[in-house]
């Protein structure tokens, strides 16, 4: 994992991931994550209603769609941060329904967040160390006796330092995470996720708010993950980036999967064009709780 892999100028695309014609819910040769009938409603609003979807192993899959398509909610459902009304989904053949978020993470499915969640008043190094799995000293009683965890902690620190170097954050290791720029926090969050050697990395809008100077390095890091044998699923708005690095694209609109396929083909799909043209492109203000706007609607009705 610590072996350095030089970023490629032109990413190598994985092909032959699916079985049969690419269509919503198409079977994959080697799926790592399978979701079936996952449905989530807020009040009367259906946020997610995915009949069947498979995520191919050791490939980079992009999840795209207009705002309010339910991408982040779907992410939350898959990782145990939200509970669906109905549905079942499995990761490496093990059902994830009713599994709490922390167990999902321990199984090797690590996610990042749309709004970065760096732990502001912890140093960059502490942030990284927190990402490591199975730490002896994280037990309250063993934590009291430094000799029990000191050695492991040093190993974790070395590993963290390696990763920080790769992400060019090593100079900042003793600074508060709160002092980093938005892009650096995205990098830190990704690096922290890698501390646990995950098999599937789920990135929620990794490019949002990132300084253009950093985008290329972030892209390289994502390609790196695949080269190291990990699977990546990411949500993104930037079509250019999707076309550039994704091996497979899943398109969501109004909670459903409307198209799937190779990035270039999907972009020409009529359903995708409709989905994008039919939706507003303004940023959503209320993150996920779009259901709570009744009073505003009433006010607007009054005006008319």
């Amino acid at each position: 994992m610590s072996s350095e892999i030089t970023p490629k100028a032109k990413p190598v695309k994985s092909t032959g991931l699916h079985v049969g014609d690419p269509a919503p819910g198409v079977k994959k040769v080697d799926p790592i994550l399978i979701a079936d009938g996952v449905k989530r409603t807020f009040g009367g609003l259906t946020a997610v209603d995915v009949e069947h979807v498979e995520i191919p192993r050791n490939a980079i899959t992009a999840l795209i769609g207009p705002n309010g398509a339910g991408k982040t909610t779907f992410f939350n459902l898959l990782t145990g941060f939200d509970k669906p009304d109905t549905g079942d989904w499995s990761f490496e053949g093990r059902s994830l329904a009713h599994i709490p978020a922390y167990r999902v993470a321990r199984m090797g499915l690590i996610r990042t967040f749309q709004l970065t969640k760096s732990l502001g008043l912890l140093s960059v190094m502490e942030n990284m160390k927190l990402g490591a799995k199975d730490q002896t000293g994280e037990n309250i009683f063993r934590g009291l006796i430094p000799s029990l965890w000191r050695k492991q902690d040093r190993e974790i620190e070395d590993k963290a330092l390696d990763l920080l170097k790769r992400f060019k954050l090593d100079a900042k290791k003793d600074d508060y995470a709160a002092s980093l720029s938005g892009g650096q926090r995205k990098l830190l969050e990704m690096a922290r996720a890698l501390m646990s050697d995950p098999t599937l990395v789920m990135l929620d809008e990794p490019m949002a708010g990132v300084n253009p100077a950093l985008t290329q390095s972030l892209l390289d890091h994502i390609l790196d993950l695949k080269a190291q044998g990990m699977t990546v699923l990411f949500v993104e708005h930037d079509m250019h980036m999707v076309r550039h690095i994704a091996d497979w694209v899943i398109v969501m609109a109004e909670g459903r999967v409307v198209a799937e396929g190779d990035p270039h083909e999907v972009m020409q799909d009529q359903a995708v064009i409709d989905a994008y043209l039919g939706a507003h492109h303004d940023t959503d203000l209320g993150s996920t709780d779009t259901g709570h706007v009744e009073a505003i609607k009433e006010l607007i009705d009054d005006e008319q």
Partner: protein, 442 residues
């Protein structure tokens, strides 16, 4: 078991207060006359004196007439004894130790038409510097009515509704403030107290007419809400102080205000005009006073007005919009700061009104009266679902009813316990509250 309740008639002039004081006076004069027996007290009852060193005495009379054969029991400290009054109405019971005992007068042994003042048939007595302690029972004319269980429930339910409605006034304000600003305002208790204190100041201390005092109190309450937001909360929001920090500021404010009230008004309880009217309006089993009726009426009218405000007026809808989603409301052109200012004025006004009604319900005005019900208000808001105004109403009624009805099984000094336990239990099963939205909980 059929609980019984005594309902004495409230003609105060007829209380006959009886009287160890008198006996003590006699005994003291006895000391002067015959020093030989002085230190052992009286000599009326040599038996008790021989057996024990300490004893309780009393004299049971009603309207100047001695009552014979009234059963008196003493219990406590692992000791119990009983005696009956003699032909002169006197009784004496010796006890082994200088300690605290409960002395009970058995009401069933009183003649027809005579009762002990409600809740005072048992007196906790302790010896002072002497070995003899006089114990008094306050007798009155009245009927011991065995109220049947159903009637008691009805009476408690009505009382609970009254209490719940006044809680709702305070709770809706708290809930609106929470909804629009995210602040759990611990100083809401002091807004409640403020209303009652202002009526006390103008209506009693300055002796203005009550209606005028109440109007002035409400206006001042609203002004206090305006001032607090303008001078404290808005600047703090501007500084970007976090919600938890704001909550702690409200705790500091609550302490400072509460003890400022005590500083100026002292620690005693005062009554507002009309607070002690008799409960002489009867509807079947339910006895109410005029104040109770007016209180409930005012609560209902005001709550309906608030509902109208929130549902039908522009500014009310804007308030709900800010509660639902402040950034979106702001983006839709709503002046969030103005809405919050209105919510503070409204919240303080409602709290002040709740305080006035609470002063009549308790009854009494005191410096910490708001703090006494603050947790019940919080419980009501949480039960209904944090931040939903109508949830606060439902939660208040549940808390009010529960507090009052639970006195049928719980001792009255435990009545708030039941409501707070309910809060914890409800959160176990329905964490978002009764009317809360599930998805708000992360």
């Amino acid at each position: 078991m059929e609980p019984t309740r005594t309902v004495p008639t409230r003609s105060r002039g007829r209380w006959l207060i009886l009287l160890g004081i008198l006996i003590s006076a006699l005994t003291l004069s006895g000391i002067a006359a015959s020093p030989a027996v002085a230190d052992e007290g009286g000599t009326d009852d040599p038996a008790a004196e021989e057996e024990y060193e300490y004893f309780f005495t009393g004299n049971v009379q009603f309207e100047g007439e001695a009552l014979e054969g009234v059963l008196i029991t003493v219990e406590g400290n692992g000791f119990d004894a009983e005696t009956e009054t003699d032909a002169d109405g006197r009784w004496t019971i010796g006890v082994p130790e200088k300690a605290e005992y409960e002395v009970t007068l058995d009401q069933d042994t009183l003649p027809e038409g005579v009762v002990v003042l409600e809740g005072q048939d048992t007196v906790t007595a302790e010896f002072g510097l002497t070995k003899r302690k006089a114990v008094n029972f306050f007798l009155g004319e009245g009927q011991r009515v065995t109220v049947n269980y159903f009637d008691q429930v009805v009476q408690r339910v009505v009382s609970g509704l009254n209490f719940g409605l006044l809680l709702a006034l305070a709770a809706i304000g708290l809930s609106l403030i929470f909804g629009t600003t995210g602040l759990s305002n611990f100083a809401h208790a002091e807004l409640i107290t403020f209303g009652a204190l202002m009526v006390l100041t103008f209506g009693v201390n300055l002796a203005w007419p009550l209606w005028l005092a109440i109007i002035v109190a409400l206006v001042l309450s609203a002004a206090l809400g305006w001032t607090l937001d303008a001078a404290l909360w808005k600047p703090l929001r501007r500084r970007g102080v976090g919600l938890i920090q704001l909550m702690i500021v409200s705790i500091g404010l609550s302490l400072a205000l509460r003890y400022t009230y005590q500083f100026f008004y002292g620690g005693s309880t005062s009554q507002l005009p009309g607070a002690t009217l008799p409960s002489d309006i009867r509807f079947g089993a339910v006895a109410l006073s005029w104040v109770d009726l007016v209180s409930m009426g005012v609560s209902i009218v005001v709550l309906l007005a608030v509902a109208f405000f929130l549902l039908r007026t522009r500014i009310g809808k804007a308030t709900r919009a800010v509660s639902d989603n402040a950034p979106l409301a702001s983006a839709s052109g709503i002046d969030v700061d103005r809405v919050i200012r209105i919510v503070w004025v409204l919240g303080a006004l409602l709290a002040g009104l709740a305080g006035i009604l609470w002063a009549y319900f308790r009854p009494g005005v005191s410096w910490d009266m708001g703090f006494q019900i603050l947790l019940l208000v919080f419980a009501a808001v949480t039960l209904g679902g944090l931040g939903t105004a109508f949830g606060a109403l439902v939660g208040s009624l549940i808390v009010g009813l529960f507090v009052e009805v639970s006195t049928l099984w719980l001792p009255s000094d435990m009545k708030y316990v039941g409501a707070l336990v309910i809060l914890i239990v409800v959160l176990l099963f329905r964490p978002q509250g009764i009317l809360g939205r599930r998805e708000r909980i992360g």
